[in-house]
Amino acid sequence: MINLLKQIAVFLLLIFIQLFILNNLILGFNFGYLFQPQIIVFFLLLLPVSYTHVQQILLAFFSGLLVDFFFNSWGIHAAVSTLIGFFRYYVVLDVDSAISGRDEDNKAWTSKKSKTWKWFYFLGFTTIYHFFFILIESLGRNFFSYVLPSVIVSSLFTFLLILILENLLYKPSRN
């Protein structure tokens, strides 16, 4: 129950950050339009691993749809979120098996992992999320002059933000 409340709180916090901070960040240089970080990916990456695959997919889909309601980007976030929710399951399978049976689901499972794994996990999925999100949002624009730089800039910034938030929200447990 506490876990669920925390999930909802994290979700609302992320939407708040996205809506009031990130969407209002307009960088003052020429290529500022490339900067479009989507912090909401963090919520998807923190979904409890103990959920079944179907649950995870549904949860990802509905959270994406909810973000779409807020940001008026009908279906784009939902599509990418569902994608992340589907493929993330396979990446975190071993995490599930590692912590299953223990009463540690309430704690953030990411803190169980090594720092390198965590970085790859966050950076990889952030990049995937931004890649598909920007690709769908800017359909038909030049890939190399618009999509790729935008993906790199946005996902790097989001990655940094995720590292900060992760450290703030989940303190690593000491074994």
């Binding site: 889909f61 980007s73 009908w74 279906g75 939902a78 929710g85 359909l139």
Partner: protein
């Protein structure tokens, strides 16, 4: 059946994922203007391409039928060609006027055979006795005088054309002088040129004067063009001009002609006969 359900249950997450993605794509396309424009532009392109390929495929398959259809169409069009048709109408057009009593009637006809390179040239037309044609009727075309009917069969007649060296002479009127005298005939050389003879040297004949049919012929109505004076020769021993006339009709090219029917001909002839008999 059971195994299918089991399979679906096992792969439920994949099915769910695909369904949700499909749903997402649908709402993206339906609700986002930019994305939907992109989507529809590209699907139009793809479907056009597919249709094109499809058409190409069936083009080759249907070639035989198409060939057949084209052949039939060609045949049909060929049957409509003008050359296949003979004017069947036996109608004679006339003008009814209460002030002027009609003297001449015209009958349209087509030329079937024609020649210009002989000493006496004949034209065959597709009108005969059945249309009311008799020997001696005048034939002209829109450009000018053509000739006189010489022989008549049931449906065809033979016309002596103006290009005849010793059969056909016509008395012209010089339009500019209103002077009717002399005769126009062909010298048997150039089918485009005729000769004018018998005009007195003291007349003011000039190059460029128009020759038309005179009011005194019983064959043609007045003022049908014959030609244009193109060259005038005079010698001191001859009291008459020798003029070359450019024929207004290109005899090699005529297609449609009109036959003149003189309604008063028999009356006039009868009158003339009586006069000759009473004054021998």
């Amino acid at each position: 059946m059971n195994s299918i359900f089991k399979y679906i249950q096992r792969k439920l997450h994949v099915l769910l994922f695909l369904l949700l993605e499909l749903f997402c794509i649908i709402i993206i396309v339906r609700n986002n203007v930019y994305q939907s424009a992109y989507y529809f532009n590209n699907t139009k392109k793809i479907s056009a391409k597919i249709n094109e390929v499809n058409n190409h495929l069936f083009d080759y398959v249907a070639l035989y039928q198409k060939n057949e259809a084209l052949t039939n169409e060609n045949l049909m069009l060929r049957q409509h060609l003008k050359s296949n048709y003979v004017i069947e109408s036996k109608k004679i057009f006339e003008i009814n006027d209460t002030v002027y009593k009609q003297r001449y009637k015209y009958l349209p006809a087509q030329i079937i055979a024609n020649s210009t390179n002989r000493a006496n040239n004949y034209i065959t037309i597709n009108r005969g006795k059945a249309s009311g044609i008799e020997q001696g009727m005048g034939v002209f075309c829109p450009e000018g005088v053509v000739g006189i009917v010489e022989r008549v069969s049931e449906n065809y007649s033979i016309v002596v054309s103006l290009l005849s060296t010793n059969k056909f002479k016509i008395v012209p009127k010089i339009k500019e002088l209103s002077y009717t005298k002399g005769s126009v005939e062909w010298d048997g050389k150039d089918p485009l040129f005729l000769a004018l003879k018998g005009i007195n040297k003291y007349e003011a004949l000039k190059v460029g004067n128009h020759l038309v049919t005179s009011p005194y012929t019983k064959i043609f109505p007045e003022n049908i063009p014959i030609g244009l004076v193109s060259e005038i020769k005079q010698s001191s021993s001859d009291p008459f001009f020798k003029a070359t006339i450019k024929s207004s009709v290109n005899f090699g090219k005529i297609q449609n002609v009109y036959i003149v029917i003189d309604l008063f001909k028999s009356e006039i002839e009868q009158l003339e006969k009586q006069t000759i008999i009473s004054n021998p």
